[in-house]
Symmetry: C2
Subunit: 296 residues, 2 copies
């Protein structure tokens, strides 16, 4: 029996989007415009990588994916809010996201700020909903880790470092430090949280956390490579933007060929973390490979 990764990805994306649509319903009451902006940015598309990773990690430790569904939706809310705020005129000032107008272009700046705030807040409401078979102590611990990964010492801090680095000469450790926080934190917490919700042992949870850290790095290197060589259609945003802003990227710092090698090295290391898991780890292996496949 071969594993049909394409079909897997498609069905998981559908599952996640069905959950998002259900958990963030169209407004039957005010404020309808704010609700509309939240749903616009949340449902406009995207790879749903973080929620899919959380579900896959939950299954890899041998639990049904339903147990991680609210958490998976929470991750996508946090990811989406961060995109909305990063796109704002005072930040990266982007007009296009996932091939569509950014939230502040489609609505307005104030609505976009509030839609981001509301999505971030909603994420914690979802993460706090009781889950059958999961101890409340465990859920609390996951919320604490999720906040830490998303906040000043995680994702938000990474965005700040990224902004501060603009116009500066960055070396490789400096660039890596930005991405570990900006992109990496939410990816590893997806894997770690999914494993913990699935009842994984502390050791299994650590394995999946390390897996997440590695694919996070590979993910960012791949994004940099795509920005260098990809096309606008594939990325759904303006390509060459990093070059335009004269930002440090992996291809610029180590050359395209070595950047590809480096991404591959992280993926190999990630896959090595997946030994001896009680559930099906094949989807996580394929997800790791998928992350860099777009560069070839």
């Amino acid at each position: 029996m071969t594993f049909d990764f394409h079909a897997y990805l498609k069905s998981r994306k559908a599952l996640v989007e069905e959950a998002l649509d259900r958990l963030v319903p169209a407004a039957d009451r005010l404020p309808a415009r704010l609700n509309g902006a939240m749903r616009y940015s949340l449902l406009i598309g995207g790879k749903r990588l973080r929620p899919i990773l959380a579900l896959a990690a939950c299954e890899a430790v041998g639990a049904p994916l339903e147990r991680a569904m609210n958490f998976a939706a929470a991750l996508e809310c946090i990811h989406t809010y961060s995109l909305i705020h990063d796109d704002l005129p005072a930040m990266d000032d982007d007009d296009l996201r996932r091939g569509h107008p950014t939230c502040h272009k489609q609505y307005d700046e104030a609505t976009a700020i509030l839609a981001g705030d509301a999505l971030l807040t909603l994420a914690f409401e979802l993460a706090a909903r009781p889950v059958e078979e999961v101890r409340a102590e465990q859920q609390l611990a996951i919320i604490e880790k999720l906040s830490a990964a998303a906040g000043v010492h995680g994702m938000v801090g990474g965005q700040m470092l990224d902004m501060e680095a603009e116009g500066q000469e960055l070396d490789l450790p400096g660039l890596q430090n930005i991405h570990i926080h900006k992109t990496g934190a939410l990816i590893y917490i997806a894997c770690l949280g999914g494993a913990l919700l699935g009842g994984g042992t502390p050791e299994q949870a650590q394995q999946l956390k390390r897996y997440g850290e590695r694919i996070g790095l590979a993910f960012q290197i791949t994004d940099d490579i795509l920005d260098e060589v990809g096309d606008s259609l594939e990325m759904g945003k303006n390509v060459g933007a990093d070059r335009e802003h004269n930002k440090a990227t992996y291809p610029k710092l180590m050359g395209l060929a070595q950047a590809r090698q480096e991404a591959q090295r992280h993926i190999d290391e990630a896959i090595k973390c997946l030994h001896d898991l009680p559930g099906d780890a094949e989807p996580l292996r394929e997800l790791a490979r998928y992350i860099i496949s777009r560069t070839h």
Copy 2:
């Protein structure tokens, strides 16, 4: 023995500020500027009404205030983030807050957006930290309620309604609806959460929630009155701003005298909710009176 409310308020404010200073320490690592902006807005001053209410509600049901301290700090983080974002140029565009430059004036707009995001995220990290003597199930339920009160159907939704109302003719129910969400939600959740953390019965928790709803309304009416008659020094912000923006206010819709009466009526109703509590409810009674005392 008479209750020295002035001394009480002063010592509680000091307790809360000591906790904030400890829970959001000065950065020993990057990003220092973001950490600085968070601390600037958090520690610059303010009445600390929400955290003080949470601590007082916890004591009113007979528990030591320490049990609600992390939650109290979380409330102040959420309140502060909402002020930072509301002050942004795309929102209310205010230069002055608590007598000091607003966060985006002291730092810059991007830093202010991120500082708000980081404070909101931190709030849930604090609320999720285990508290001795409090069941994890209870804490999860409080986090869920806190998110709901702070999000699209609570505080953030209220700010959206407020923005949408600008330039519109608002009637009294419309004005009240804005304030129930924008200001009221976080005030009632302070009281409700404090009561639940203190181990109050469901009935006691409901009493304190209703108390919070009433003082929330009185608080907003008082703010409107102060905007009409107060002075800039007392408010620490530009007075008459609501009039300038031609915004609906209670004094404008019902006249100054009746607005005062209405605030008093809500305070009377709030105090009525405080019967038969196992702990000391005197501070809550005084806090209710304090909320409107500034108008006399």
